[in-house]
Every structure is written in C-alpha cells, then in structure tokens.
Amino acid sequence: MAASEELLVVEDLKKHFPITRGIIFQKQVASVKAVDGVSFTVNRGETLGVVGESGCGKSTMARCIMRLLDPTGGKIIFDGRDITKISQADMRPIRREMMMIFQDPYASLNPRKRVGFIVGEALEVNKMGTNAEIKRRVQELLDIVGLNPEHYNRFPHEFSGGQRQRIGVARALAVNPKLIVCDEPVSALDVSVQAQVLNLLKDLQDEFNLTYVFIAHDLNVVRHISNRVMVMYLGSVAESAGRDELYGEPKHPYTGALLSAVPVPDPELGRQRKRIVLEGDVPSPINPPSACRFHPRCPRFHEGVCDVTDPPLRDFGREHTAACHYPLEGWPLTEAQMRQRSGEPVAS
C-alpha cells in the first residue's frame, strides 16, 4: 500500500492548562488556553513553517504533537495512525519516527554526558545495533553534520553554540526519523552561524527526505526554509498558506502587521515603506479577548462583529486560509489603507 502524502494531520488541537484556586481542595477556576483549536497538515518531504510571537502557543503545540504533553482535545494523526490518546508505552516505538531539535544549544545538551553518548542515546534505547555499530553510526552522524568524528568523547562545553546545535541535529537524525520538529533552532545563534545551521538543515532534508515542522519567530528565516507557512496568534491559527502566497498576499491583518514589522536590511526600502505599528502588547492567554483574539489590536476592527462573532476560516484557494471577518484586499498596504475596509464582512 502506497504511503499517503500526508505525514502529519492535526485536527482542532487543544491544550489547556488549568488554573486552580482553593484552600484545601484545589478547584479549577480558569485555564490557560495555550493552544485552542489548531488544525494543519504536513506532507512528506515538505517543511511547514510556524510563525508567531510569545504566547501564541507554537512551542506548546510542538510538544503536543510529540506527545511530550497530553492534548486536552483534538486529534493528532501521524503517518496514518491516531496518536492522540495512546499510552506512553504504545508511543515509544513511534517516538523513533519523530524527533525534536530545541532552541537553546546550551540547555538542551546534558553537560555531564559526552557527545557520543548524547547523539547515540536514542539508538541505544531503541536497541538499534551493537555498541560498535552504534559508535560507528554516531561518528557517521557527526561527520554528516559537519563536526569532527574524533570529537566523539568531548563534552558539550567544549563546543561553540553553533556546533552544539549541530550536535542537536545529529541527535535528532540518529534514528532516521520521518519528522523533525525544530523549535526555534537558530534563534539563539549569531547570524553567520545561523546560516550554517539553516544550510545544513536544508541539505539534510534533501539527502534524507525529511519532513520538518519549523517553528520560529523570525519571518525571514521561516521564509527561507519553508514550503508552507502557518501564522499563530494566541493559541489559534490566524492564517495558513504556501510560502509565496503568505508573504506576497497575506490576508490576515496580523500577518500583514508582522510582515510590516520585520526590519529589512535595506535602508532604501526601509525608508520607503510605511510600517504598520500595532497598539498594545500581546495579550496573555489566560484571558484572551472575546471572539477574534486579535480584535483589540487590529487596524481593521469592526465593533459588533469582530468582538462578538468568531471569525470564520475563509478559503482563498490554493490551500490559503485565514480566519478573519475582513481579510486584507491587497498587499503591500499602509496602516491607513489597512483601516479602510468595506462595511460588510466579506462573504466566504
């Protein structure tokens, strides 16, 4: 049977963290809705970029997909199998197929373990070979990621930030996973090192036919590496599209604001464009705004609509969807242009 195109399907994923109050008996009074209804699909061999600011839930979502956290609701279907509620014991063989690369190269490697152990641990746990075979495989991996295989016995602190991140990549690759979830893998790195790691990730994807879910807050980086991009805001998906579509014709005002806020390393371009500056701060997920989460900061806010009714998920064709009552009607736009919108919500 031919394997389906879709490697990962997530339907209406929810993760709520309870807030309890009480003197003797703790009772739940509210919850932090970190992820509140996220759906997406990732096809084999492609990269889904997930973009959002702090509090948007992207890291929580990543951990739910990997079942490092148990979802409160929704479905996760990995390689055709529903893994949402299966036990941790049943999850173990599946863990071999999905690995994660973390943000902080200094915190994600155990400082008391040698690099060889760190990279090979998953192989040992899954009993994928004899000790000698594992050692050989680890050295092979170190070479693949551009490190010296002779450094097998060194400790993490003997490596630079970029090199440590490569160790993280080698660790993720060790068991030949199908999916690698990268949670802000280059945010903590300098720009020149960032380029090295991004190139490495791209090369590996080509060589090993990997599928990535790439989470980042830097829109430039996401654009470089993704095929499709999903924008998250306060626990839900604001917009989702193919890369060129999203960057060229964003439909959600938040996406527009994000794109506008990214500083461009081109002084002339920077001077020409009129940046859209949002009001206020990113709200907290404990008390999200009613209906459309973005409405308090949205330049296109329409009272009575945006704060009352949940915005419908509109389909713009070519797998481009956005959840907005008044999607953008063009791009680029200035803030003034954004504020003008037709009186009626756009019919789906």
């Binding site: 090199q163 020149s192 090192v193 430039n220 654009r223 806020a261 500083p263 002084p267 920077g270 949002l278």
Partner: protein, 341 residues
C-alpha cells in the same frame, strides 16, 4: 566638534586564562542628533566598547587606553565624581533585558525619581511630575498611577519603555542603547523602534544603537560601524554600507541573511567561528575565515582606510578595489557565494 569622539579605544581584561583583548583599537565619532549603529556578532566587543565609554566595566584587572572625548572632555581619564555627573545626565544607557535591568523591589516611580534626583535639585513632588511626563511620552497608559507599580507588573515591551523613559528623563545629549529590542517580540520591537525615532526628533539626542540585527540598523541608523574580533572592520554611512560594502566580513554578514524579497537556495556561510580574544590571529583577524586571503593578510594588520571617492567610508582590508567591486555586485544581485567557496 563631534559630540563623542572615540580614538583608539582598547579594553583588556586580565583573566585566569590570560589577557582578553575585548576591545582592541576602536575609533569612531558621532554628531549631535545623529544615530550611529554598531553592528557585530556576539563577542566582537560592541557592548564592551560602550560599557568602557560609560566607565561601567569592573575595575579589577581591567586596563583601558585610548580616548573617549565627550564634548571635548575625556571620559576615560576624568575623575569618578565628574563621570557620575555625566552618567544618567548627559549620557544615558539602556540595556538589553528589560526584565532584569530594573530593580524588582523598588517602585517604578522611585527608580525614575532616583534618576532625576541624582542630577537635579528638585523636590520629590517635582521629580514625580517629571516622571509622569516621561511615562506619558513613552506611551504608557495611566502614567500617574503606574508610578506606584513594580517592574513585574509591566510587560516586556512596557518595561523597555520605562527604561527609555528613565534614560531620557534628564534630557541627555547621547543615548546608548545596547541591544534594546533583541529580547522583544517583532511587533513590540517595531513599537519601540518607532518610539525611539519619535523621541529622537522630540528630544534631539544622538543615539548609539548596538545590535547584531542588520535590519534594525538599516532602519534607524545614519552611520554604521561594523565590528569583528574587537576591532572595527568597516564604517560607513548607512546607504554606502548596504549598497557598497567593502569588507569580506560585511559581505558574509549581508549574504547570510535570509531575505523577504529574494530567494536563495543556500545562504552564504562564513566558515569557521570568531577567534579567541586571548590570542587573536596574526595580521588581519578575519584571515582564517576569509576566502580572499593572501600573504599580506597574515602578516600585517590592515588599518582603517578610506575608500577612494568616499572619504566617510572606511574599511580595513587589503583586497584591491576591482575585486571588491566585483564581489559587491554579486552580493547585490543575489549571486554572491562567499567568494572562492
């Protein structure tokens, strides 16, 4: 006369492993009301440069040479009392992490008041009024009430605004901002940069902006200094730097940035990593990683030399003008591949 003129600044730290030459011969100047961006990656010495100018380095084991002339007075040799008069008053500094840069157990109003009362002979009530004025100017709602709140009751973006307010409260001539937006979300960063721009117009201060983000510096700076391994490798007005960069490191930096409007398959990679500042390489410090390296680079250190035809544009590289033109054209066209590699 330039507002601040730094000449051949060197800061060496004596450590257990040897002498770390964190800043090793940096010169630049900034005029009144202008913005200077100091750009570089971690460890290049950009922060230490400004901490040295302000006299905020730990004194034990630190040797500083060179000059930092602020309105003609050398900040590095003046007595500490005079330096304290200038700090927070004529020159103010804001730091990267607003979460830890404010004292968690003092009210915001008290911390702002402290900044005022250190330099102005006013009553507490007057100081409070001035603090409220500044909080309003930086866009904090309910300013008067918020004076009695503590730092943890503000969000990250708000805290940075408070820091800016605290820095501007005495109308400084120069504001030094050390990575002020690195720890903030991109939309908050846009707000803060917008604010700083507006305040610069209103207050007329010069700004030195230290950052690793070339995008930020392209938007806000008039002139840019690029630092590498404790030295300045290139210095130019902003348009010149981005359109006509003349140093392989600058090419590498610009080429390694993923862009919103261009598509490259591979980003330009600068091979290797920055050198140790204990034992920097002989000759040009960039030579171990440079694709254009030739004999002279390993023997002699290139000084900052003006580019022919553009006296304000300085660069420290022995490569000939023709090659530089060629490589730059490749960079601008998007086909730059890191040189010989």
């Amino acid at each position: 006369m330039a507002l601040l003129e730094v000449r051949d600044l060197k800061t060496h730290f004596r450590t257990d492993d040897g002498i770390v030459k964190a800043v090793d011969g940096v010169s630049f100047s900034i005029e009144k009301g202008k913005t200077l961006g100091i750009v570089g990656e971690s460890g290049c010495g950009k922060s230490v440069t400004c901490l040295t100018i302000m006299g905020l380095n730990a004194s034990k084991g630190t040797t500083t040479t060179g000059e930092a002339l602020f309105k003609g007075e050398d900040l590095l040799t003046m007595n500490s009392k005079r330096l304290r008069e200038i700090r927070g008053n004529d020159i103010a500094m804001i730091f990267q992490d607003p979460m830890t840069s404010l004292n968690p157990v003092h009210k915001i109003g008290d911390q702002l008041g402290e900044a005022i009362l250190l330099h102005r002979d006013v009553t507490k009530r007057q100081a409070r009024a001035r603090s409220t004025e500044l909080l309003k100017a930086v866009g904090i709602p309910h300013a008067e009430r918020r004076l009695d709140d503590f730092p943890h009751q503000f969000s990250g973006g708000m805290r940075q605004r408070v820091m800016i307010a605290m820095a501007l409260v005495n109308d400084p001539d120069l504001l030094i901002a050390d990575e002020p937006t690195t720890a903030l979300d991109v939309t908050t960063q846009a707000q803060i940069l917008n604010l700083m721009d507006r305040l610069q117009d209103e207050f007329g201060s010069a700004i030195i902006m230290i950052t690793h983000d070339l995008g930020v510096v392209a938007e806000i700076a008039d002139d840019i200094v690029v630092m590498y391994a404790a030295k300045v490798v290139e210095q130019a007005p902003v348009d010149d730097l981005f359109k006509q960069p003349r140093h392989p490191y600058t090419w590498g930096l610009l080429g390694s940035l993923p862009r919103l409007n261009t598509d490259v398959d591979r980003l330009v990679q600068i091979p290797g990593s920055p050198p140790s500042l204990l034992n920097p390489p002989r000759g040009c410090r960039f030579n171990p990683r440079c694709s254009y390296v030739f004999g002279r680079c390993k023997e002699e250190e290139p000084g900052l030399m003006p580019v022919t035809g553009a006296p304000e544009h300085l660069q420290a590289c022995f490569l000939d003008d023709e090659t530089k033109e060629l490589e730059n054209r490749k960079l601008q066209a998007g086909s730059y591949a890191g040189g010989a590699g």
